[in-house]
């Protein structure tokens, strides 16, 4: 370590992570990150979904304790027990969508937890005048024309972020971290945020932010740090930025070769056709057609709108425009009750909330997809018939359990997911949408699920697979659509499909100015 760095690292505002590790159970999210944040510099963190960017920020801001490693502030080790401990040390994290208390005024939200008081005959009281004056001064310092008496709920997300910046300064925080601030903003708002960042930088603040948008990263950063699978794979300083190199670093190459599926099972018959679908909020003008036996992937960053597209097709979210055809018949606007009966099913991303009822038994969950098919006796469900359906499902989907009456919550994540698959597949669907089908699933069960998906395609089922793991899409899909900020931006098929190509397809996507909403 050079003497120069040692001298620098003692500077006030020099915030260094040294060998930071973080594990959740046996899963290592950060594998020894060392990164220097310096006064007057903007260090940008880039990386794919799940690379560990947000976890790193949460550790830097005291929201999550690291499993190992040291944080050093101006050369001295610090332990941050909580966000407020971080604030006291001058470290402030601006969340992506700030949670200002909606009913308070802007001035009040800026002083929550640290209200200025003054003495009086009846004891200490809040000094409203001082609070408003100081809040106004902090906003003025950043040239933000926001009325301090406005209720916080009337602020746009961009304005809330601006108030957060002023709040950081008010608390004397000079190390400011921004967790993906630009994705909810329009291009004009991004420019304004960047002008604030430049001002803070010129003022000597230590800045860092997370972004997926290559253009803006190249514009604002002094250094770019690339994270991949919990490892810091590259740190580049201006002026040696190189778009191609950053991309290849971000995407990287997995050590193991990703097996591609053998051959497409796609038939000619179109099973699901979506045209010009919009929800007026999160995605717009999405169109694709899916043939029987075909596996179509939806790639994209978390929050790109893929789940919203799936939920709208399935009928649990309303569509604002567009058309959905199932086997040729227009089904736009039908609810999911009707969709399931027409052969469209959806395995949701959030298993505990939407996919299954964890306190209920395996059998009750398996038959819950379509109770109509269970035989009745005097209007009551035949226990024998239910057990028969459930036993067959448990066998076919290789569920490991103690018995059919075991509550689902007692099973491992992988076995729970197999039950959710069984729930839908035993209804005999023609089209299945699988949203993050292997989330929270162990490695062995993951391979089981891949084989099941292959088998469904062989049987002629049309499958739409959403996954944030490029390797998974490569393993499963005949064709992949890349979604960026609610729009289809690329299509990959056949030999073009590789993990690198998939990740590149959405990481390089040009941001449509202002996003869908604007």
């Amino acid at each position: 370590m050079s003497a120069q760095r040692d001298a620098d690292s003692a500077m006030p505002g020099f915030y260094a992570a040294q060998g930071i590790r973080k594990s959740y159970g046996a899963i290592q999210v950060l594998k020894g990150i060392s990164l220097d944040l310096k006064p007057g510099r903007m260090v940008t963190i880039m990386g794919e979904n799940g690379a560990g960017k947000s976890t790193l920020f949460k550790i830097l801001a005291g929201q999550v304790p690291p499993t190992g490693g040291t944080l050093r502030l101006a050369g001295a080790p610090v332990a941050l027990a909580s966000p407020s401990a971080a604030h006291a040390r001058g470290i402030y994290l601006v969340p992506q969508e700030p949670a200002l208390l909606p009913e308070l005024s802007v001035a009040e939200t800026m002083f929550v937890g640290a209200l200025p008081t003054r003495g009086g005959p009846l004891g200490r009281r809040v000094d409203w005048a001082a609070m408003r004056a100081r809040a106004r001064a902090a906003l003025d310092a950043l040239e933000l024309p926001i009325d301090v008496d406005r209720p916080a709920r009337t602020l746009s997300i961009a304005q809330q972020q601006q108030v957060e910046c002023a709040k950081a300064l008010l608390r004397g925080c000079r190390i400011i971290l921004f967790d993906e601030p630009t994705s909810p903003l329009t291009s004009h708002e991004v420019e304004h945020l960047f002008s604030i960042m430049r001002r803070l930088k010129a003022d000597g603040c230590t800045l860092s932010f997370i972004s997926h948008r290559m253009d803006e990263v190249l514009e604002i950063s002094d250094e770019i740090a690339v994270l991949r699978d919990g490892v810091l794979v590259d740190v580049v300083a201006r002026p040696s930025f190189d778009r191609a190199r950053l991309l290849s670093r971000m995407v990287g190459r997995p050590l193991k070769a990703v097996p591609r599926r053998a051959a497409s099972n796609a038939r000619d018959e179109v099973a699901l056709e979506v045209r010009g679908l919009s929800d007026g909020l999160r995605f717009a003008d999405v169109g694709f057609s899916l043939r029987r036996g075909e596996v179509l992937g939806l790639a994209g960053l978390v929050g790109a709108g893929r789940t919203e597209i799936a939920e709208t097709v399935f009928g649990v979210r309303p569509a604002a425009a567009g058309e959905v055809r199932l086997g040729g018949a227009v089904v736009t606007g039908l609810d999911c009750h009707a969709m399931i009966r027409r052969g469209l099913v959806y395995v949701p991303e959030d298993r505990a909330r939407h996919g299954a009822v964890l306190p209920m038994t395996i059998t009750e969950n398996v038959t819950s997809g379509l109770l109509d098919r269970v035989r009745r006796r005097a209007g009551l469900l035949s226990a024998r018939d239910e057990a028969r359906i459930s036993a067959a499902a448990v066998r076919d989907f290789r569920v490991r359990c103690a018995g059919l009456d075991q509550p689902l919550r007692e099973l491992s994540g992988g076995n729970q997911q197999k039950v959710v698959f069984a729930k839908w597949m035993t209804t005999g669907p023609r089209v299945a949408i699988l949203d993050e089908p292997t989330r929270g699933v162990d490695v062995g069960a993951k391979e089981d699920i891949y084989e099941m998906i292959d088998a469904m395609a062989r049987d002629g089922m049309a499958l739409l697979v959403i996954s944030s793991e490029s390797e998974e899409l490569v393993r499963l899909c005949d064709r992949i659509l890349s979604i960026y900020e609610g729009r289809v931006v690329a299509e990959l098929s056949g030999a073009d499909i590789s993990p690198a190509a998939v990740a590149r397809s959405y990481l390089t996507a040009a941001a449509p100015s202002g996003g869908v909403a604007a």
């Binding site: 159970g25 009750h337 009822v357 819950s368 490991r400 009456d405 929270g440 490695v443």
Partner: protein, 358 residues
């Protein structure tokens, strides 16, 4: 992991559904019931004067049980119906007025009364679903509306003096069916029949299954294609119908109607449902538990009164038993769905992702 390993469930013996009408809690309540009846039988002279008088005691509390059966469905969905007392009063008063003012046959008027109760329940569901008001507030509000309507409909001199065939429902026995049937009050037969019906409904009917699913997880139910609004509307309608049935049985028992006659039903009925093991968060519990709990609380109250304790002491003991039993239930709840567990689950931070179990 050997994926060819036979699934363990092949070896498992499929039991007859998990939602058996009898579980540990139901057995514990039954033991309590035996203790209560045997205890008062031994210690309180006058509590046991032959089987007919023992069964006859049930006439004093089974209207509460009828309300509890209907309320069970609503609480299983995770909701609450505070309007049951007012629904009982209003529909009984309206049925009585139909009979006395408009000359409608008493049985036809009673049937209309039950239908009115179901309609009032549907109105509750409409307020909850269409106006997006929480069940607690919605049914509190409608209970005032229904209660006032009952006062208005009753007038200065509410009807009384019903035909003997009608008053027999509240106070008569099945005597005409045979000598042994003469021991069984009509109220008890009615309650038993409905208890069996409701138990089968919740345990094994398609409606009961989706009701429980909605109670555990409205989101998962919706994503499974269940039209949750219809399920809720049905539960509130049944609760309303059962409340009005209880109101009519009270009218028959007292041979009169009063606009406030249903007011006593609400709190006791909720106590019966909760002591019966139905979680106020929805999903958890059985009708069998509620049935036993109705008998426990009913006989306890009757026994205390016969033994000469005041109403105040009896009520105090009811509260203490409710708290003690639910505390015991939570303590021994291994499935992690008890009240304490639920509260704990909502305040603790989500667990980090589980490690690979292999």
């Amino acid at each position: 992991m050997d994926m060819r390993a036979p699934a363990a469930a092949d070896a498992a013996t499929p039991r007859d559904g998990r939602r058996l009408p009898v579980g540990g809690w139901e057995l514990a309540l039954t033991a309590l019931l035996v203790a209560v009846v045997a205890g008062f039988g031994a210690a309180a002279p006058g509590f046991y004067a032959g089987p007919a008088s023992l069964l006859g005691l049930t006439e004093n509390f089974l209207p509460f049980g009828l309300v509890a059966l209907g309320l069970s469905l609503v609480i299983l969905t995770g909701g609450i119906d505070l309007s049951v007392g007012a629904v009982a009063s209003l529909s009984a008063v309206l049925a009585a007025q139909l009979w006395s003012r408009f000359g409608v046959d008493i049985w036809a008027a009673s049937a209309l009364g039950v239908a009115i109760g179901a309609l009032l329940g549907l109105l509750n569901a409409a307020v909850i679903l269409r106006l997006g008001i929480e069940p607690l507030i919605a049914t509190l509000g409608t209970s005032f509306l229904y209660g006032s309507a009952a006062v208005a409909a009753a007038g200065a001199a509410p009807p009384s003096g019903f035909p003997a065939s009608f008053t027999a429902v509240g106070t008569g026995t099945l005597g005409s069916l045979g000598p042994l049937a003469g021991l069984v009050p009509i109220q008890l037969a009615l309650f038993a029949a409905l208890a069996v019906l409701f138990s089968a409904l919740v345990a094994r009917s398609p409606f009961g299954r989706v009701l429980v699913m909605v109670g555990y997880s409205p989101d998962a139910a919706r994503y499974s294609g269940i039209r949750t609004g219809r399920v809720l509307a049905t539960a509130y309608a049944v609760s309303g119908a059962m409340a009005s049935l209880a109101g009519l049985v009270l009218a028959s028992y007292y041979d009169a109607v009063r606009p406030d006659m249903g007011d006593v039903l609400l709190l006791t009925a909720i106590t019966m449902v909760v002591l019966g093991g139905i979680s106020i968060f929805g999903g958890e519990g059985t009708v069998a538990g509620v049935v036993v709990s109705v008998l426990v609380l009913g006989f306890l109250r009757q026994g205390m009164l016969i033994a000469g304790f005041s109403d105040m002491v009896t009520t105090m003991l009811t509260g203490a038993i409710l708290l003690a039993s639910i505390a015991a239930k939570n303590l021994f709840n291994r499935r992690g769905t008890g009240l304490a567990n639920q509260i704990w689950a909502t305040i603790r931070r989500p667990e980090p992702p589980r490690a690979n179990p292999n």
